[in-house]
Amino acid sequence: MKEQQYSDEILNAYVDGELSADDNNAILNSMKSDKALLRRVRDLERVKSLVGTSFNEVPNSNYEKSIKGNKPSLSIAASVLLLLGVVSGWIGHDLLNKDETSTQIVVSEKKDTWNIVLHVNTNDKYIQKTILDETESLLESFKDSEKKAKVEIVAYGQGVFLFDKSKSKYQDRLESLKNNFTNLSYAVCGRTLKRIEQKQDRKINLIADMTISRSGIYQIIKRQKQGWNYIRI
């Protein structure tokens, strides 16, 4: 099948998850042999993702200034504080100290809480093992420390299979880690889940006590904006 056989409306409906399973499968099959179609769909997916992530946060005053050239007003500053209050809670005290553009694995010694997010996007068992080893090592190092720590593993892409009960090579270890460390959490990309379930026509059973986020990348960026430190292994 060629790209021209699918209208733009149908391809967008595919990207938005609005098609039936049969129609989805037909497009998936066509993409295997039609590179132009694949590229077209990927473009649409990326535009959709960019639109979502371009408005996933309320801009601060400097950000606004760079767009509009306006001087930051008191009302903007007050609104920032108000909004920070809404999303703060248990992570709030880190927010005002956050360097928003930093992805360095540098955590200030002065902070009382170290919040760390790691991601897994591969089904490679050796990489998955390394991530779990590092996670355990991090959590162990904080176990007897006065400092508090929170660690979250975010899975997307092929990494989702790490948490799939029927596929995971480390289910027992994941559950054991979760039982031993209450400050450990897992999150999985909802978009990837949906895509895999449609493609494989099966329901994925995740290990217990997981968060399903809108998207994996969104979850990581959200955590970074909340002051978490992102580590890519």
Partner: protein, 185 residues
């Protein structure tokens, strides 16, 4: 009273999201906050008219959309605002390689990409921008967009398609810039 509590909860839980959506429409932070505030006030006044609490999400965004339309009508003194462009006057065309932005690090480090995308969206006609924001930011289905905007689903499909095509052109994604990752079997 039950619905009022649900509405309050909804507004608290979704305040950031609602402001982000409003921001994607008007591109001004304070105006976006005002828009959400106006919508909350109107929703609280009219909560008794909401028959099905399951429709709260769509009902609220419809109120917010009407608030924005009212503001546009006052500002631009026109009746049909669907084709209006409420964007940057000094917009300059800039390229974005979408595939460079595929990792969390680059997405975050390239704040400029966000600005370019936001600016490109600001150049879309209102009718395309609203559909795009409802689907890609608010995360509602075509059917819900159809209800919110009172348009047929076919129109939703054509508008989202044109909006994304327009964005692709504005962001100048060229074939030789693609780094297509093949689907894994």
């Amino acid at each position: 009273m039950f619905n009022k509590n649900k509405l309050s909860r909804f507004c608290v839980d979704n305040r950031n999201l609602l402001i982000n959506i409003a921001y994607s429409w008007c591109h001004e932070r304070t105006q976006a906050e005002d828009l959400v505030q106006d919508a909350i006030e109107k929703a609280l006044k009219n909560i008794s008219k909401l028959n099905d609490i399951k429709q709260l999400k769509a009902w609220f965004i419809k109120i917010m959309l009407n608030c924005w339309r009212d503001k546009l009508r006052k500002k631009h003194d026109l009746q049909n605002f669907d084709d209006l462009i409420v964007g940057e006057e000094n917009y300059s065309h800039q390229n974005v390689n979408l595939y460079e932005s595929s990792t969390p690090e680059s997405l975050l480090s390239q704040q400029q990409t966000k600005l370019i995308v936001q600016t490109a969206i600001s150049q879309l006609p209102v009718k395309h921008k609203t559909v795009l924001s409802l689907i890609d930011i608010y995360g509602v289905s075509y059917s819900e967009v159809s209800t919110i905007l009172d348009i047929p689903i076919g129109t939703v499909m054509s508008r989202i398609s044109r909006a994304r095509n327009d964005l692709l052109q504005r962001l100048s994604v060229k074939e030789d810039e693609h780094k297509v990752i093949p689907l894994k079997k």
